[in-house]
Symmetry: D2
Subunit: 332 residues, 4 copies
Amino acid sequence: MIDLAIFGAGRIGHVHALNAAAHSRVRVKYIVDPLPGARDALAAQTGAEVVDADRAFADSAVAGVVIASSTDTHADFLLRAAQAGKAVFCEKPVSLDFQTVQQVAAAVEAAGTPCLMGFQRRYDPDFRMVRDRIAGGEAGRLEHVVMHTRDPSPPPRAYVERSGGMFIDQAIHDFDMARYLLGEEIATVYAVGRCLIDPEIGAAGDIDTAMITLTSVSGRLVQMVNCRRAPFGYDQRLEAICANEVLYVENRPRHGVTFADAQGFHHAPPLNYFMERFAAAYRDEMAAFVDLIETGTQPLAGMRDGLEAQRLAEAATASMRTGQAVRMEVAA
Amino acid sequence: MIDLAIFGAGRIGHVHALNAAAHSRVRVKYIVDPLPGARDALAAQTGAEVVDADRAFADSAVAGVVIASSTDTHADFLLRAAQAGKAVFCEKPVSLDFQTVQQVAAAVEAAGTPCLMGFQRRYDPDFRMVRDRIAGGEAGRLEHVVMHTRDPSPPPRAYVERSGGMFIDQAIHDFDMARYLLGEEIATVYAVGRCLIDPEIGAAGDIDTAMITLTSVSGRLVQMVNCRRAPFGYDQRLEAICANEVLYVENRPRHGVTFADAQGFHHAPPLNYFMERFAAAYRDEMAAFVDLIETGTQPLAGMRDGLEAQRLAEAATASMRTGQAVRMEVAA
Amino acid sequence: MIDLAIFGAGRIGHVHALNAAAHSRVRVKYIVDPLPGARDALAAQTGAEVVDADRAFADSAVAGVVIASSTDTHADFLLRAAQAGKAVFCEKPVSLDFQTVQQVAAAVEAAGTPCLMGFQRRYDPDFRMVRDRIAGGEAGRLEHVVMHTRDPSPPPRAYVERSGGMFIDQAIHDFDMARYLLGEEIATVYAVGRCLIDPEIGAAGDIDTAMITLTSVSGRLVQMVNCRRAPFGYDQRLEAICANEVLYVENRPRHGVTFADAQGFHHAPPLNYFMERFAAAYRDEMAAFVDLIETGTQPLAGMRDGLEAQRLAEAATASMRTGQAVRMEVAA
Amino acid sequence: MIDLAIFGAGRIGHVHALNAAAHSRVRVKYIVDPLPGARDALAAQTGAEVVDADRAFADSAVAGVVIASSTDTHADFLLRAAQAGKAVFCEKPVSLDFQTVQQVAAAVEAAGTPCLMGFQRRYDPDFRMVRDRIAGGEAGRLEHVVMHTRDPSPPPRAYVERSGGMFIDQAIHDFDMARYLLGEEIATVYAVGRCLIDPEIGAAGDIDTAMITLTSVSGRLVQMVNCRRAPFGYDQRLEAICANEVLYVENRPRHGVTFADAQGFHHAPPLNYFMERFAAAYRDEMAAFVDLIETGTQPLAGMRDGLEAQRLAEAATASMRTGQAVRMEVAA
């Protein structure tokens, strides 16, 4: 059995704690969260003990920590986990400050800390099928990609204000997916963004609708739409146009009943939001973290992937502000 | 150029006359119909002359006649066409009286009259694709068939009263399709029918909903649903379950726009009714009639097919009345 | 906490034991099965003790028993549970011998035993949505129903020989669904069946393809297709044609990726077989059993439903043998 | 009856000539084309006379001309039509040289020549339904648009060399659709383009894959993908995300048969290429030209629309070359 400590008992911490508890080779030993309500319920549900961060890091029996606490704590917890020699499963982003991300990434890499970054979409069976079919050569060369990410409805203003902006908060998963599918780095980023839906988001200095174009180092093309609302719910799709075939990741419907009347045929809206849509992905991601600890199997996304996705989000922000495309400096 | 005479300027006569006129090797020479309105407009539109039946049959330049007049005239026109040595394209049924159908079929066959029976569904590209894929062996052996035929809304009572009943008026096309796909005769017929939708149909002594089960001579199975209404429009589907694959003929949507809102995804209702749905089939059917005249190429459906489909409709009526399955006498 | 005993550690017993163990208010106290392998693994997985039937029935702490053992043991276990005053969750059928079913049903009803019959399809969210929309009046009056049930591939001959035949083994769920949706009893049953796919099934005296027509007491119509194979996998669909709308239960796809190439658009085959397709239904069914024990809430299917569905399966068998429709004796 | 002269007997001239000939109030009086083969066949088919351009312009009975000749003749024919007082139906583009387009547009407008520009997609029933639902207010405010245009396969190099480049040759229809749906002008254009598919296109100095982002004057967003190949055929889709609903124009399938086997469900590829896909649009477009002549009803696209779409294509070309977004000068 592997002992894990879960930092953060909020929405995503809850998912990870339950997946860890349901894993046959894991014990959730500790829940760490300053707020008592959800924390204590989650501890009861998983049979874990509520402790503070010091205690969790100090316990040498703890093999890994899941960092699902508020974003401003990620960097510190990552560094402490690296010092304590614990494997880390960290939700994105490492920090809203990109320089901090770079410093933490350097430190974590220097320490040789096993690290899984929470880009759960890489673990989704549908996105993986697309990736595997491209990587395996059946699909032919990937030429261009179109991605759609739309939330069901705008988040509250308080959330927006702490989010780091739509590119870091939402589009970062699409930047990551672009790198994952292309298997190479991005050369240029162009982004436009507007507040078209919710004036509260604009008042918070953020946007709710964005369009982003990427070119890869080898010259392949990616288009992304990001939006804080779709009239029908959560919209998460991808089209990968390859030489031999096109691969589509479609939305998954909420149910399997169709209604037909004089207006036509009515199909279910999609599964609502990422918790439902990516339930299987979160389970597989936790299993990958266990594999990382037990066998050193590299996860699908690591610290470096978090850094690079965020670098693209930073570039998109700069592009939007200047109205011009940004050329990435590609490491030699 | 082939000269044709069109008998009947009603709804279906109109379709056939226009398709004939649009055929590059056909001239619509005569329109025959006792009622002036639609007849004269159709004659003007096709450049045809309005004449009576005698005149049309007497003109030796007329190579073929299209019998799309009222059902009670079909038998007489068929016999006169046979006598006059003209090819015949005849709408079903030959007569509401089955004995008459048998007599006319015998006479027409004895005369060697080239004859195309108006089972246009055999000419529909989708149904043909299914048939061809079965006949060609790709699909594997056809094991069972499920068919759905539902009209958009019940016909007026006056129509029902002259229709010969739902089995002869509507289900006859499905009986024909069963024989066409199976490529063999039917051994047993079981039918239940009820008036569940429109009391006017019941008052006319007919049914509006029926379920029919057929077994073929070699033991394969067919199920049919026939109905005078579908809430969404015209419903015309088929599932052919074969050893290697299932072939579905789906409804064709009225347009290609999908709407999505909080209730889900809304797709167009199907093309409304057989005139639209089978527009291509009617064109191909007319072309086949031209081929029959020009080259003797056998049409997909002939006089014998009309007889056998109607024999099944008669058996279904008997089964519904007695509540028991009817065993067909299969010719040696 | 409710203590349950699970009888049978086979495929379906495994499902029920895990669902019971995962229920927050249930403890799986005992696993009862004469064969050690799967039984012991299941006991270990659920934290249950392996005991014999006597011990399980004798333990007054056991509030309910789940009978998922081999069919020939169902009747005896049901009667013993009734005597011991335990609630019962029983897999269908109660017995292959219909007289036994009637006797057991009478005894269980006389004893007032709370009983849930394992027609899990009633608990499937999609089938329930259809039922609720009909029962709630939104859909308008249900007029006719078409059901498709096809297994992915024929079962082994040994299974067929002990199954009681396809009507009792497979179609019984469709008979039950017909009664559930119609909300009334069936008046006539007509069935044809053939061995068209697997000669081994024929050699075992059974059929692999059947078509069944039902009429209800009030005159509504039902058609069912039952088959031991579909070329693409498990096929479980329903069309409920109502006055205002048609409700379709569609197959659920195995994944959400579409492939497009020169041959067209390729969508995933359905979830393979009932264990996957009805995973949610089995969970909800277990929750309903807990509710039955805790609060007396009537389950969606009880002993009487098992009896009536099997009565229809018996009638279908008789109809197939005689070639004629069977009229049900409807209780006053 | 209206007399028309058709300039150009190539692929698109053929479509327009046949649609004109099939229109009940039109006579195709002249076919003008220097090459005898297709020209003479088309003249025979439509009952037209073959003449030279002088003769067609000189005939005062000719009310309108359809300019479907090679691009380098458009400007001259347009000016001569304006001088001769004939209504014009002109295929895009007016000229590959944008200055020429501006001059011709000014002259044609000054002359008051009734002019329909050949953006047939505006006449497609599906695209019109989307436009009408937005314009009518049902859909709510249009917020952003995503468009896909992919040809079935790359054109020959000789075609590419005379095409003016992919933005003018292909994307011009998407630029036009953006303006049509938004109902306002474009403020910024950003485009990337690569030759990823066919090296012959690269050798001709053109691209085969492009991604374009537009912002409108009021700040709404448009994304377009243009490509010279889709593995499955012609890909022509649109997503219009509005406040109340999303409207999708889907591809139209080539047939209505679905095949199902162990690999899943196989649906037809789309109608192949724009001639088939937009057959109805071309008919309606010709009818609109007749209306323009008969009643002065403004067509959905006029000379000014051709100019503005091409201005965007020019801007896209400039953006691709500089790697930076282009800000449009918007007329006061």
